[in-house]
């Protein structure tokens, strides 16, 4: 049984879009030294806000815009806790996830059972948001590696004391990175409600935010790595479902395990190669997850 590789590829780039957006946003936040475990909460907030806006206005693109705003707004809770009150980032992130899920469930009641407007498709019968996600990869890479602002952001993430000593505003930089991460997660969540399911249901992101977090680690904190991770995970998922649908006689349990096995395998290979690499800590930003308090 032959499976057309092009059709698998087209499916996988659509399927990996929500985690690609969320992981790219989290990448920028983590490069600024912020570990935000609230991705799932920001995604579900975006899923609801985007759906509500798309439903009310009949314009799916406006929905994505509102989703980005909503994601950024709710991420400010996390920013306030960790940047202003210096609360623990892990705990604050988990709180944001729980809060986002609950908040969306509460405000989502009036939107249950209604349907979003249809999403127009772009080139290759793939919708514009998928294309936007793909364009974001080189943009974020260029921002981080080829721009002055990106250099400052990475500096803040690698060593906040040094960045502060050089006169950069660590908290402001981090707050901006958190807001960007929130906006991207919001768009990723809205992709599920507006483009994939076309309806709002509680808990509809179903753990996508956690996969996005894992992919950032997998990427070794680079934008092309995030794309590779999202495609690998999405690709193996799509491929195993295609094999099932084609009736290929491979045990289904093996196929269902495949995305996770592939992810673990790649992580093992990466960490084995790590021994010979110059950077310690698996390439994670030096100040990741630690709060900054200016003593001097």
């Amino acid at each position: 049984m032959m499976i057309d590789p092009l059709s698998v590829f087209l499916l996988l780039i659509s399927a990996s879009t929500p985690i690609l957006f969320a992981a790219l946003g989290e990448l920028v936040a983590e490069r600024a030294g912020v570990l935000n475990l609230g991705v799932e909460g920001m995604m579900i907030t975006g899923a609801l806000a985007g759906f509500a806006a798309a439903y009310a206005t009949g314009n799916p693109f406006l929905g994505f815009l509102v989703a980005a705003l909503a994601g950024a707004v709710i991420s400010m809770l996390f920013a306030g806790l960790t940047q202003l009150f210096l609360a623990n980032q892990v705990a604050s992130g988990l709180a944001l996830t729980l809060f986002g899920l609950g908040l969306a469930a509460m405000f989502g009641k009036p939107f249950e059972g209604v349907k979003a407007p249809p999403m127009p498709t772009g080139p290759l019968r793939i919708n514009w948001i998928v294309w936007l996600g793909l364009i974001m990869v080189p943009l974020i890479w260029a921002f981080l590696n080829r721009s002055r602002a990106g250099l400052i952001l990475r500096g803040v993430g690698e060593n906040h004391e040094a960045a502060h000593a050089l006169g950069y505003n660590v908290r402001l930089t981090r707050t901006a990175a958190i807001a960007f991460g929130g906006a991207m997660a919001g768009v990723g969540g809205a992709y599920i409600s507006i483009a994939t399911v076309l309806q709002w249901t509680e808990g509809m992101t179903a753990g996508a935010g956690w996969i996005a977090l894992a992919i950032v680690v997998f990427s070794k904190w680079t934008a092309p790595g995030v794309l590779a991770g999202a495609w690998l995970f999405g690709g193996v998922t799509v491929l195993q479902l295609r094999l099932q649908a084609a009736g290929v006689a491979v045990p289904v349990q093996l196929l269902s395990m495949a995305p996770y096995l592939a992810t673990i395998l790649v992580l093992v290979i990466i960490s084995a190669r790590q021994k010979y690499s110059r950077r310690a800590g698996g390439g994670s930003p030096g100040s990741l997850g630690t709060n900054f308090h200016a003593l001097r």
Binding site: S14, V114, T201
Partner: protein, 358 residues
């Protein structure tokens, strides 16, 4: 130690509060635990409509409470104990995975009645109830067989358990009855509710040439995918009316209200007894949602005739001659499947080429 003290204090407090409540002529207290959120638009949503129907029917004579999103396993035992300590007289546990927790808690509270959905373990104070979803599958399978142009229909399975396999077999048998060329493709999502995964499963089926999708998972994602590809599908668990008239051309609705009203009524009269209920179309527990105009009138009439025949008990969806997928004889001419056979079903019928994950 601290937690133990807290639990002991809390339960003592609840007991103290509950004791005088029981002494007076208070309303019957009815508790529910749900596996998902009440807003899932599917399985749990339908159970909660049943709970609301109890309140509407009996008014002040009953008082209902529920705990939603209870994980299957040990945490369910905590939730059930909490409901029992709070003085509930009857507790409904609405997911298969609550089975052992229900048995454990029921043994500790012999005066509280328990009802467990889709399970098979019973005792003096534990009854079970289920719905014959396969009857509904026969009706939508007929529509699927008539409507497919590619002669390939797809089924998104959740978990390979008897309930789902009954559904696959029942829809395939009836699709093939009206269309001898029809083939079935099965994809397992290994989830009851995961919109992204369900959407991918649907796209995989559509890419294989499937043009009618049947789903045993609870989100509308497969319908959304079907719509984009110009295919059709069916509402699952609830009506999914937002996708009318197409791609949602019909639906199978779980209607628990009559059962809940009956059982709570029995509690009020003091006639409640343990037992096993497995009701279907005839009892109004499995309802076929409106068949839309996207389906030709003669197909609609055929499907409705089948529905009515099943409802009246004139026709059983598993009537021989039927062979198993390996070619061995399952049911002889005119023989119908026993309930025991159905409740342990772990094979496909002849004509389905896929393998069941073992």
């Amino acid at each position: 130690m601290q937690r133990r003290t807290l639990l002991a204090t809390a339960s003592a407090l609840i007991m103290a509060l509950a004791a005088p409540a029981l002494a007076q002529d208070e309303p019957l207290k009815v508790g529910f635990i749900y596996v998902g959120p009440v807003g899932d638009g599917g399985w749990t949503y339908q159970h909660d409509l049943g709970r609301q129907a109890i309140e509407a029917e009996y008014g002040d004579r009953v008082e209902t409470t529920f705990i939603e999103s209870v994980p299957e396993g040990a945490d369910a035992e905590r939730a059930l104990t909490q409901l029992a300590l709070a003085g509930n007289d009857i507790i409904f546990a609405t997911s298969f995975g609550f089975m052992d927790p229900v048995m454990n808690v029921a043994a500790k509270f012999p005066d509280v009645k328990f009802e467990h959905a889709t399970g098979y373990k019973r005792s003096d104070n534990v009854a079970t109830y289920d719905a014959r979803f396969y009857e509904g599958r026969a009706v939508i399978g007929t529509i699927a067989g008539r409507m497919t142009e590619s002669d390939i229909i797809g089924y998104i399975g959740s978990f390979p358990i008897p309930e789902v396999i009954q559904g696959i077999n029942s829809s395939f048998i009836h699709a093939r009855k009206v269309n001898p060329d029809v083939q079935m493709r099965v994809v397992w999502a290994y989830s009851w509710f995961d919109p992204a995964k369900e959407a991918e499963a649907a796209s995989a089926l559509l890419a294989e040439g499937v043009d009618v999708i049947l789903q045993h998972t609870d989100s509308t994602a497969p319908l959304a995918q079907a719509q984009q590809a110009g295919a059709i599908g069916f509402g699952q668990a609830s009506d999914m009316a937002a996708f009318k008239p197409s791609p949602r051309v019909a639906s199978i609705i779980d209607e628990w209200s009559p059962y809940y009203i009956k059982r709570v009524g029995a509690m009020l009269d003091g006639t409640w007894e343990s037992g096993a209920s497995w009701a279907g179309i005839g009892d109004g527990e499995v309802v076929i949602g409106e068949i839309t105009d996207a389906v030709p009138a003669e197909v609609k009439a055929e499907a409705e005739a089948l529905r009515d025949a099943i409802g009246a008990g004139e026709y059983h969806p598993f009537t021989g001659p039927l062979n198993k997928a390996d070619g061995s004889v399952w049911l002889a001419e005119g023989e119908t499947a026993s309930d025991d056979d159905l409740q342990s079903m772990n094979f496909y019928v002849e004509g389905i080429t896929a393998q069941i994950p073992q």
